[in-house]
Assembly symmetry: C2
Homo-oligomer: 346 residues x 2
């Protein structure tokens, strides 16, 4: 696990002063950057898809990754906070769509890669609760179909926690949702957005939203020349204290990155959440306290800038945000390897 966090900008607001903000509008690349130590192969992706949909990856075989990060929907669940199986999780399940274009994982950016976040999910007692790598590996080793697949997919042929995380990550890196109307517009089709949506896009830039929500995933810099994998890009939220929204939506209750670093300077810092397909991942904010996208825009204006955007401007910005929803790829349900004439967990 990474222990040192690199904060690229103390408050990402600095970007709003840039004179060339428009370049921060970028289309979604066809594929995310693939780490050298986990190359994509067809077989690895297929194995990762099985694991992603397999409830046996949780101790009681009651939830799979897909239970909270539902690929039939926005890649998240319908709840304010991840709410499966009486788990006590105080943060909202983020969407897994386009997840390969991020540089850090979890709301507080505490994992530097998809592989790291997978491992943390598997052993978190409130999530998959697998107890230990030995418990997890013995579980998977008792399913003959998986043992065969790991042999074929990995050079070391091992059912190891590291390989489980690699396979899951390989699948998750395929979850690209391309070709939103925004992408068409950015690539040159100027009729892809109507007048209202373009007005919203201008407001998104001029009212400061773009200061943090820029780049291919509207989550700050994507991994690449500008940012190493694992480098975090934070925003302080709320930046402007004392608004009524603080109490109404409990924004001071969870101190964000601080809980992870225990560094007082990180109180109320959060990874900048991506905005693609935002229409499909209500409710909003780390605690899922706001259901409506208009209200989310009002809140962000008040607690980050206090410009006082009016309702027409809010509506224009929401119109623009709606154009960020792309074309979801079809997902064929995997066939999970069975334990013939036996069962693992009950």
């Amino acid at each position: 696990m990474r222990t040192v966090l690199f904060t690229l900008f103390s408050v990402c607001l600095v970007f709003t002063t840039s004179s060339s903000a428009f370049e921060y509008f970028q289309p979604l690349p066809e594929k995310p950057i693939i780490p050298n130590d986990n190359p994509q192969t067809k077989e690895k992706i297929a194995l990762g898809k099985q694991l992603y949909f397999d409830p046996r990856l949780s101790l009681n075989a009651d939830v799979s990754c897909n239970s909270c990060h539902n690929l039939a929907a926005g890649g998240d669940d319908d709840g304010a906070v991840a709410h499966m199986v009486n788990r006590k999780i105080k943060r909202s399940a983020p969407s897994l769509w386009n997840v390969g274009y991020l540089s850090t994982y979890f709301w507080d950016a505490r994992a530097a890669s998809l592989e790291e976040q997978a491992i943390e999910h598997l052993f978190d007692p409130n999530i998959m609760a697998m107890g230990s790598p030995t418990i997890l590996e013995n579980r998977i080793k008792s399913i003959p179909g998986y043992v065969d697949s790991f042999k074929q997919v990995f050079n070391d042929k091992k059912v190891s926690t590291e390989n489980i995380a690699k396979a899951l990550s390989a699948f998750e890196r395929t979850l690209t949702v391309p070709n939103s109307r925004y992408d068409q517009f950015i690539k040159g089709n100027k009729s892809a957005l109507n007048e209202k949506e373009q007005r919203g896009m201008d407001l998104f830039k001029n009212k400061g939203c773009l200061g943090c929500h820029f780049g291919v995933n509207f989550a700050g810099p994507a991994p690449g020349p500008a940012l190493k994998m694992g480098d975090a890009f934070y925003e302080l939220m709320p930046t402007i204290r004392g608004s009524l929204y603080e109490d109404k939506y409990d924004f001071l209750d969870d101190q964000g990155v601080f809980h992870h670093t225990l560094n007082d300077e990180h109180r109320l810092f959060w990874r900048v959440p991506p905005l693609r397909n935002i229409t499909d991942s209500a409710p909003y904010f780390h605690n899922g306290s706001v259901k409506d996208l208009h209200e989310a825009v009002r809140v962000m204006d008040r607690v980050q800038f206090n410009y006082g955007v009016n309702e027409k401007e809010v509506d224009d910005i929401v119109s623009f945000l709606k154009t960020l929803t792309g074309i979801y790829p079809p997902i064929t349900l995997p066939r999970l390897p069975e334990t013939e004439g036996s069962t693992l967990t009950h």
Copy 2:
């Protein structure tokens, strides 16, 4: 709801005396019989698939039909008893594969059609827990994509509980798993089963199993000329009392059909469970008390016949049972209609 049960045979054991038992081996028809009042349409099946995978059909939006009847696996869950979300269900989740070929539903045959069982699942406080038809219908009506689909699919254009059940059932009737090696054999390809498997098939007939487990789904007569939809075909289990297995596997704890009819003559009667794809739906029996298929065969011999089959015979029978697993059709995950910028349940 149907209130009168028709018991076709008081103990299905009578069939073992038939001199033409072989005709009870039947291949799986291409499609199940479709009820006149719920014709299949492409659009209805697509809607039913969305509903099947949608956790918002449960009160807390935490389980979908697929949570316990997982189509990525054997159409059931991995547990002895359905174990999602702390529900208290004392019976094992049966497979939904080939479910259209049954004449009754639930272990105790208390529903006469797929439509009836869907409604019962939706309102059972231990399953989907929707409280009332009004709660369910208001939930679905608040999802614009569903409202549009119901308008297109049903003549009355209504989001009604009845139509929800019809759409779910239409999808479930497509869950056919054809072309097992057994089916190939029955259709004339005599090399589809090896010698051991054919020996198992003969034992299956001659040791009495076929007495109850005959027909297209090995669950007794399928709906058709011989049996109206809703007519139940029961077996008494255990038939022979006093074996050690009774206690070991708790076979007297749940009195089966009696709980539903309150008729003392129905104590320990159960719908004959189908055997297709049995390798993929461990553990076995209504309470999921037996994990291993060999043990399940031993138990059935002891508590139903007491012939004392030997271990070689058990192994032959299991070999035959393994040939009943067919080719699962690919299932593409549906896209669930979203509630843009809002959420329903949390």
